[in-house]
Amino acid sequence: MLTIKNPKTFDWANMALSDCCEGNAADSYFTLKLFNLIEEKLIELGMEKLLTQLIMPSLSTFSEMEYEGMGVSELKLLEVGRQLRVANIEEEDELYGFDQVQTSDNLSSNLNLIEVLYTREGSFELYPPDRTGKGSPSVAAPTLKLLLEHIEEELKRRG
């Protein structure tokens, strides 16, 4: 088998051709042995057609797609990246504009967000509709969405 101890530091480009051939031959040998075993099983399970008519022929299609890759417009990357960053800053500013949020709050911190949403006096003082596995009030997206639904229901109820 083509087994290398430290593949990250190994000098692949200058590997001896004989080692490379031997390794690849061993790889092919064991792959074929494995294929024969798997093929037998697949025939037994009635999946031979799927293997030979669909999966095997599509391997070259996928390797071609993987090799080709997808071109990226660096200009667009900058443009969309800038748009997103500006949007993020604006959204963050909006959040800090709430009286319930202090300038020292770090809204990326779950602990801090728990204080802002649930525990700190003078803040939003809501109740978490769910908690984490460890028992802390949850600020995960599904919980916040549920909380939002409850608020919307309550607002609707009040007309």
Binding site: E64, E66, L77, L84, E125, R131
Partner: protein, 372 residues
Amino acid sequence: MGKWDHRDDGKRISQSVLQGKTTEELRDSQRFIKSLLDLRKSQKLEKTYIVGTQKAIAYNETPKVFVDYRFDGTATGRLSCASYTAKKPMGVSFHTLPRDKENNIRSLFTAPKDYYFVTVDYSAMELRVLAHVAKDGQMQKAFLEGADLHTYTARLLFNKPKISKSERQIAKAVSFLIAYGGGAFNLAETTGISLGRAKKILNTYQNVYPAIFEYMEFVEKFIKKNEYAYSIFGRRRNLPDIKSKDFKVVNRAARQGLNFTIQSAASDILLCGLLGTQRRLKRESVDARPVATVHDSIELLCHKDHISKCLEIVYDELVNYPFMKEKFNIHFDVPLKIDAEVGHSFGDGIEIDFKDGKPQNLQMVREYMNEN
């Protein structure tokens, strides 16, 4: 922090706390949570796709991303696509690319000079597979008539000719829930209707599309007897959990089995379309090649002079599916339908109208090409 209740108790207390708030306080909380969720979403977009693509370009030393397609990435037999490993940041997963047009992430991926992206999407593929395998005459009729399935279903479900947006939404949710193996509880959760109403709607759905439920029953019985499910392509998924003593585990295995018969077939239909298309393009010397596949779609790069021929081939291979007929002898009871676009990038383009398998609005495409 142990004082916090969860699930039903938490929900109940949360709702009663809200009742004690002023309307202004509620509106503030609503705005805050909405903005917070929006911020998290766009921060994730930036981190995953902008930073991820920048890292990939730096790693690859060329403005390209490379992905790893995996046949064994999902239990359903669906193809998965990953960005290799953290140590080899060569790309970003196309399968999670958002469709959002506001921050059009898909527009980052562009075609080289003189080439265009041809993006072809199967329309309502899983529901077409469901109508076919379940042999449900009513659902098949909707597809054969070219009707919008969800409006058609809503009319039957609510027994009236004029349907509201939310009624169509409910009908759509029920159809997908059936395909994904959900029940009344999931329907109530996703559409915001009461559990009682969800149950009633599901009962009516059963009267509207009885063969779908007979098929579900058949699949469940088959799995219980054989401990596996199989698709029309012969692909199978072992489901030993069906023999569990825990009824929740048994139900999950039954759901997974039903979903497998539909999702894996849909995925293999796309694979047949992809192979057929690639072979025809090569055989007929069309300068076009597939560069990606994302869920029910295929993305091709096509030279500007070959767009018309490429579209004709793609239409034929995906809608008339000669490859699948020849190799698997599968003939669908319902027509397959595609939506196609031609554009400079993955994220924008001109929608193509087809008539008798031929693209109709190529003049618009030419104008688009000249403008861009």
